[in-house]
């Protein structure tokens, strides 16, 4: 491991110590180098001056010795060099170059003096200093002095310095250790605490905290760490809670929730799934989801919640049941997780089926009964209809705007106010008319009630429309039949009773008059009785005739208008001839029906016209047929006494007579009316007034219609 690596992993405490010590050592070494350098420099200079001085002194004192060749004294002079410890060796050479005297410091092993001193010089080396000078007296060269000093004397000093430096280093080192100990409390210990805390947090103890002792970086770090841990703890708790909640939801959910991995392997199977599929979660986990939803589904590429629609689920026992499922895909750490939410829709399906069946029944019932449902939402002004309601109104759903105003367009203008009034009063039980878009008039009965909201306010009206057109038609027919029956009964009780009263009363008079032999009155009495009896006979015949019309017995045949009229005219030829009436016939139409009854129409009308010809000098009857507004209208016109318009309708009544003196029972026109109505026709009389002739017009749609269908008719 390289050094940097070692340092990198060192405890901060040691790192600090190392830094402090390294700094100290380096600085001390630098100081020492400086001192040594300086010491050496100054020492050399001082040595040069000392050597020069000593050399001067020796040179001055050794001159005579040389001159006198006194070697002993020369040695004594040289011996004074003991006072200069720097001088390691000195030698005095005579002028002839022979060694005269020498000196060696005591510590010097006797080293041979150089053979020749060489020229005068100052030679400075690293270890030694050599000075060579001439010894002169009064300008006379006497010899040469050779001095050699060394730096030995400086070493003890340097040794001292080194000692001091060492001691100082030791002292500083001790101080540094002490300082480090001190720092450890203020820096390392909090850091250690922090690291301990961090380790606890890492170990999962999120309640750990550390005391903040200082305001420095460590203090701030501790504060931050505390906050971080607090927040982390909060988040963790929230996460735990949220996870618990989710787990609670998943477990208590009514929908089955299954989570599977990308391969369909089940990872989670909640309680609802257990119940729904009849399979314990332990068993389901690890199985394939296909086991429960065999149809499978493709969840690839789906994001968020994707509805899968209706599928089939399979219980553990193999039972298949309808489900509705949705899937969501979630990517967790590169793994795709599928969460499928499944709802058992068996009951809903059954309910839907039941509802469909019920709706079908209702629809059929509506169709059969011709009643439709409707609902009017007051706040939205929106009307909802059932299928039959649309049929009743003769429209397709797209043709109705579903508002009240658009509905009023259907209502017959004369009934609109009535209908609106009923809607306003919220009391719907009325009969009214509607006009289908194709112009067909229908009678409806609307029944409805109000619907309240929770505050008791009326929010809607709803009810039924019943098409009572057929009912009304039947009702009207029945009413007509009833009225006719009433008239019939009335006729029987009144018109037949009337001649009976006459007969019985005059029989009484007859008895009386015969007893009193009043022949004139007897004759009268008998006449009244005969007339009354005849009238009764006639009435009975006609009543019988009348009752037959309702059931025409002759099979329908094709007959031309001309033939029918001719037949009718022959039947009344006698009275026509008697009165001398001119008859004109014009028209060509083919009819289809009971020939005899159809002929009776013209027969009775002609008879009637002849009877009421009055005093007309040139009586004339016109018989014809014409087209009026797309309808074939027959007519019988005369120029007789006419009809007071006031009684124009009354003439068709059963046994109604306008003229009490006229012959007949008043049955003729009633008979005609019945025949015309049998063929769905109408009959009416037109007359400008009394004395201005009359015109009877009538239609026979059924007699013509049957023909149109087979061949087509001309008019």
């Amino acid at each position: 491991m390289p050094v940097s690596g070692i340092i990198h992993n060192m405890a901060i405490q040691r790192k600090l110590l190392l830094i402090i010590l390294a700094t100290l050592v380096v600085s001390l070494v630098l100081v020492m180098i400086g001192i040594v350098g300086y010491e050496l420099g100054t020492y050399r200079k001082r040595l040069e001056r000392e050597v020069a001085g000593v050399a001067g002194f020796i040179a001055a004192n050794s001159g005579p010795t040389l001159a006198f060749d006194d070697a002993r004294t020369a040695r004594e002079v040289l011996a004074t060099l003991k006072g200069s410890p720097a001088i390691a060796f000195a030698a005095l050479y005579a002028a002839d170059g022979r060694l005269f005297a020498s000196y060696s410091r005591s510590d010097q092993r006797s080293s041979p003096a150089p053979a020749a001193p060489g020229p005068a010089r100052l030679e400075t080396g690293l270890q030694k200093l050599v000075l060579v000078r001439a010894v002169q007296q009064k300008g006379l060269p006497l010899g040469t002095l050779y001095l050699r000093a060394d730096l030995a004397s400086v070493y003890p000093r340097l040794k001292n310095y080194a000692g001091i430096v060492f001691l100082v280093s030791v002292a500083i080192g001790a101080g540094a250790v002490l300082l480090q100990r001190l720092l450890q409390r203020t820096v390392s210990e909090p850091l250690l605490e922090l690291s301990g805390m961090a380790e606890r947090v890492a170990g999962g103890d999120l309640t750990a905290s550390v005391a903040v002792r200082s305001g420095d970086e460590i203090g701030r770090l501790a504060g931050a760490l505390n906050r971080m841990t607090g927040e982390l703890g909060q988040s963790y708790r929230e996460l735990q809670e949220s996870r618990a909640r989710v787990a609670g939801i998943v477990e208590t959910a009514l929908d089955a929730i299954i989570t599977a991995d990308a391969h369909g392997q089940i990872l989670l199977f909640n309680a609802a799934a257990e119940r729904m599929f009849g399979c314990p979660a332990a068993k389901a986990k690890g199985s394939s989801i296909d086991m429960f939803i065999p149809a499978g589904f493709d969840a690839t590429g789906t994001t968020g919640q994707t509805a899968l629609g209706e599928l089939n689920g399979v219980r553990l026992n193999g039972a298949v049941f309808p489900i509705e499922a949705s899937v969501s895909t979630l990517e967790v750490g590169g793994n795709e997780l599928l969460t499928v939410i499944i709802r058992d829709i068996t009951e809903r399906k059954e309910a839907e089926e039941a509802l469909r069946a019920s709706e079908h029944r209702l629809r059929r019932a509506e169709e059969m009964a011709h009643f439709g449902y409707w609902r009017y939402d007051l706040t939205a002004n929106h009307m909802t209809w059932s299928d039959e309601t649309y049929r009743i109104h003769g429209v397709e759903p797209a043709q109705f705007e579903q508002s009240l105003d658009s509905y009023l367009q259907f209502v017959h203008p004369d009934d609109r106010e009535l209908f609106e009034q009923a809607m306003k009063q919220r009391e719907l039980d009325l009969q009214y008319r509607i006009m289908r878009p194709n112009g067909v008039l229908r009678y409806l009965k609307a029944t409805g009630e109000v619907q309240h909201d929770e505050r008791g306010e009326i929010v809607a009206l709803f009810g039924t429309f019943l098409d009572i057109t057929e009912l009304r038609r039947t009702e009207r027919d029945l009413q007509e039949k009833n009225a006719e029956l009433e008239r019939f009964t009335y006729t029987v009780s009144h018109d037949l009773k009337s001649p009976l009263v006459t007969v019985k009363t005059f029989l009484g008079y007859l008895e009386q008059d015969m007893a009193s032999m009043n022949t004139e009155r007897v004759q009268k009495d008998v006449l009244y009785i005969r007339n009354a009896a005849e009238k009764m006979g006639l009435l009975l015949d006609e009543l019988l005739e009348m009752s037959r019309i309702g059931r025409l017995i002759n099979p329908p045949v094709r007959a031309s208008f001309g033939d029918l009229v001719e037949e009718a005219l022959q039947a009344v030829a006698g009275s026509i001839a008697d009165r001398g009436v001119e008859v004109r016939v014009e028209g060509d139409v083919t009819l289809y029906g009971d020939r005899q009854r159809l002929a009776e129409i013209w027969q009775n009308l002609v008879e009637n016209a002849v009877k009421f010809m009055g005093e007309q000098a040139s009586p004339r009857i016109e018989i014809g047929v014409e087209r009026v507004g797309g309808e074939t209208v027959f007519f019988v016109r005369d120029n007789g006494i006419g009809i007071n318009p006031r009684y124009a309708d009354k003439i068709f009544g059963l046994f109604e007579k306008l003229d009490s003196k006229s012959k007949g029972t008043g049955l003729g026109l009633a008979l005609v009316k019945r025949i015309v109505e049998f063929y769905q026709g109408k009959i009416w009389a037109e007359s400008p007034g009394v004395g201005e002739g009359a015109c009877f017009r009538f239609t026979l749609p059924e007699a013509l219609k049957a023909l149109t269908e087979s061949k087509g008719a001309k008019s």
């Binding site: 009144h494 009263v501 019985k504 029989l507």
Partner: protein, 152 residues
């Protein structure tokens, strides 16, 4: 009894029935004038003095009207209603004399303020007895206001 004799207006379309009533009046020596018309239109013409009845001397106001129900042109009920709706005529007692015993007819008649409703008996002696009673009742016993008609 006061003033001039009461006139009777008979409205009857059946000539035989009119003859019966006329004979009864004769037989009981009822001297009151009997006017006979044979339909509703004639009855109204008489009362309003129209057409051939325009002479007031020939068509005096009747004291009693005997009215049949089933009449040509204008029927009895309509005649009755016209009389009772007219302030000049409504004090005239109207007696319906008819063969109809129908409930509807009776109701209509009484609703139209008829004064009496009589169903013609089928039996001769009963008819005779009825006419006698009717004559005595309306001509002898029944009292009228003095001002029978507002125009008198």
């Amino acid at each position: 009894m006061r003033g001039e004799p009461i006139n009777i207006l008979l409205v009857e379309d059946d000539p035989a029935h009119a003859e019966i009533i006329r004979r009864n009046f004769e037989d009981f020596r009822i001297a009151n004038r009997l006017e006979h018309v044979s339909d509703g239109e004639e009855a109204l013409d008489y009362l309003y003095r129209r057409g051939r009845f325009s002479d007031p001397l020939l068509s005096p106001r009747p004291g009693v009207i005997l009215l049949d129900l089933r009449l040509p042109k204008v029927d009895g009920i309509e005649v009755l209603q016209t009389i009772k709706a007219d302030p000049d005529l409504r004090r005239i007692p109207v007696v319906i004399v008819t063969t109809s015993a129908a409930e509807a007819d009776k109701i209509k008649a009484y609703d139209s303020y008829v004064n009496s409703y009589i169903v013609k008996p089928v039996d001769y002696s009963q008819f005779v007895a009825l006419m006698q009673t009717l004559g005595y009742y309306w001509l002898a016993w029944n009292d009228f206001p003095y001002e029978r008609h507002s125009d008198e």
